[in-house]
Symmetry: C3
Subunit: 271 residues, 3 copies
């Protein structure tokens, strides 16, 4: 209990820091998520900048507080930018998050790039259960970019990824965060069944993890981002059961989070 | 009357199949529509994946249940992907929809690509009246990517396209669907005058036609997608007469369609 | 007073012209803003077309009523299109707006392109205070693509840009418009503190300035676009204090502007 309460205190502190510091987060992301991820970061308290060309990647990563890389709809120029920015973040000890969208044997180009990016030691690797399991070496089935696998069935396998990163996060009905900096695997509950029906929520979550990594230790930051999403999803679903209004309410709730709501609604457990 | 009632039954069945099968739909689309089309597909019951690079196009089309190609803001890499995916879909008998956004003598690059794609026999060609008339060989005037022509004035001309595809759909105040598999031209009524004031609705409709094509015969699928949009537009307009709220309500209504609503609100006629 | 009242009359007239003419506006913009800017233009009465490839740039600019160039997430192909379209607009006397997103010593590629575009004499240069000050030769600090500087501190410096353009607009808590065609610097008040929390509002404003430039003299057009945004922001904020709902209401208010609202809420002053 003490350890969990201590964790909760650190998560609340991370949220306070995010509001105070409004870190600059470079996002290299896909065309589906670009607008949504920027709005989510602004709503949550960060300052997004979607700089994704190879000619400005190095200089911009150097001045960013964190980097979020999402390989959702890659172009050749984005791929060059991804490599440069990941290398720069690694050299400069700037925290960075890798979201290997669609990692699978079907989508080889991005999957080979994802593999090679592990050399630059992402601070966090986050994905859905299919992506994480496949990256951890487990042959799984995905349906395009959506998971067909449960997050709860994947966290054991995911441990294999801790040799490439200090933190792995699997999003799903419940979210699981795994890190050598944590005494146990952490499970984050809450959210809403409507979240997977809104596109790019996972992509935006990856960007938010990066934002938190700029203001808090990696494992705490990763849990905090998931808690932020889970509470907003839960409260938004109380206002609406249909996806149009839910999505509007979700952005509102991301924006209106408070220490009081964090204390009241945060659901984290050790597995 | 019997033929129309039979058609209505098949459309309701197509919607049921879409909910049950949640087909994987590869979308190669423009930067304006990417997020919106993905949300529309999720709302309607399909599983979208915006894979639009030439390096993964073939392998991904092979595992997709349908393909939607929209030439709205093409890049050179997208153009390569479009050609590869269309060819793959043709070879593998995977249904695919062609939306020749902005087809005209002014926009030559995309128009020449559109012409060459006819060799891969799109299952459906859909567009606004200006695009369809121009593709059918009628010199018309478009205003950028918006139509200046009525859908009702175009369907006779559009018949010429049936040598390249099994189905042509013209969206507008009323929608018209033409196919050799139908005894007559079908007119879909409903919708709202606000729909053209929301960008990318036509593009999202193209993706939805592809989704239905994965679960129903081409002509039925095409009508079903237009009916799905028309009912959602009509019910959303009852909730709001301004475009911000209309757009939110439209997504809600796409998501909340039911067999009851289909029976009550479907407006289709033979011309 | 007379001069201000005369200005107000011309602004109302510009809005009326926009509704009547629905000008075709070519937008070369970033992936974050593409959908949003298109919806803003449709809501305000214009006809957007996001044609941003080099192969169609010249022919499309020739038939457009105005051009909006936003260097937010440039690609090599977009950069080619930007140069071609700006040159074409200049040659054909088509009004065009330059939005130098992120102009700074950190983002060299876009900043060098921005410099070279000044040769094609943009009708309007618009940006936030950091971008405009930096472009005017003042070393300032930006935070990524967000301004860290006040618009009120920048308008004196910005005068230096009038040798490259006939109008400079600085958006911020209040907006300032500077032009040799105006007797004084014009300050536009209104709006909402929530606007900077919604991504791409500045980018959409640039596109809207271009739309107004198609139907009114440049300085009047630029003020009119800022007034349109300021009133919509103010009225939307009265409906909601959280950003999800605010953003929906903002689009509604952009759409529902009227001469009555313009007369009642327009706040412009000479500085």
């Amino acid at each position: 209990m003490t350890a969990i309460n201590d964790l909760k205190t650190q998560i609340i502190q991370a949220w306070i820091e995010l509001q105070q510091q409004t870190p600059l987060v470079q996002c290299i992301t896909n065309t589906v998520a670009a607008n949504y991820a920027a709005n989510v970061l602004l709503a949550c308290g960060a300052s997004p900048a979607m700089v994704d060309n190879p000619y400005e990647a190095e200089s911009f990563t150097r001045v960013s507080n964190a980097l979020s890389i999402n390989i959702g709809t890659p172009t050749s120029e984005q791929m060059q930018a991804i490599r440069i920015s990941a290398a720069t973040a690694h050299q400069q000890s700037i925290p960075w998050v890798l979201d290997p969208v669609g990692y699978s044997s079907i989508l080889k180009w991005r999957s080979e790039m994802t593999q090679s990016l592990l050399n630059f030691v992402p601070s966090v690797i986050r994905g859905n259960a299919s992506e994480i399991a496949c990256l951890a070496g487990d042959e799984t089935k995905a349906k395009g970019v959506d998971s067909t696998q449960s997050s709860a069935d994947t966290y054991h396998t995911a441990t294999a990824l801790l040799k490439f990163t200090s933190c792995v996060a699997i999003s799903g009905e419940s979210d699981f965060i795994i890190s050598n900096d944590l005494p146990h695997i952490v499970k984050v509950s809450g959210g809403s069944a409507l979240q997977p029906k809104v596109t790019a929520t996972g992509c935006a979550l990856g960007a938010l993890i990066a934002a938190y990594c700029a203001v808090a230790p990696t494992a705490i930051a990763t849990i905090a981002a998931h808690v932020h999403f889970a509470i907003a999803g839960q409260l938004a679903a109380q206002k609406s059961q249909s996806i149009g209004i839910f999505n509007v309410a979700f952005l509102d709730e991301l924006h209106c989070l408070s220490t009081t709501k964090l204390e009241q609604y945060m659901q984290i457990d050790f597995v």
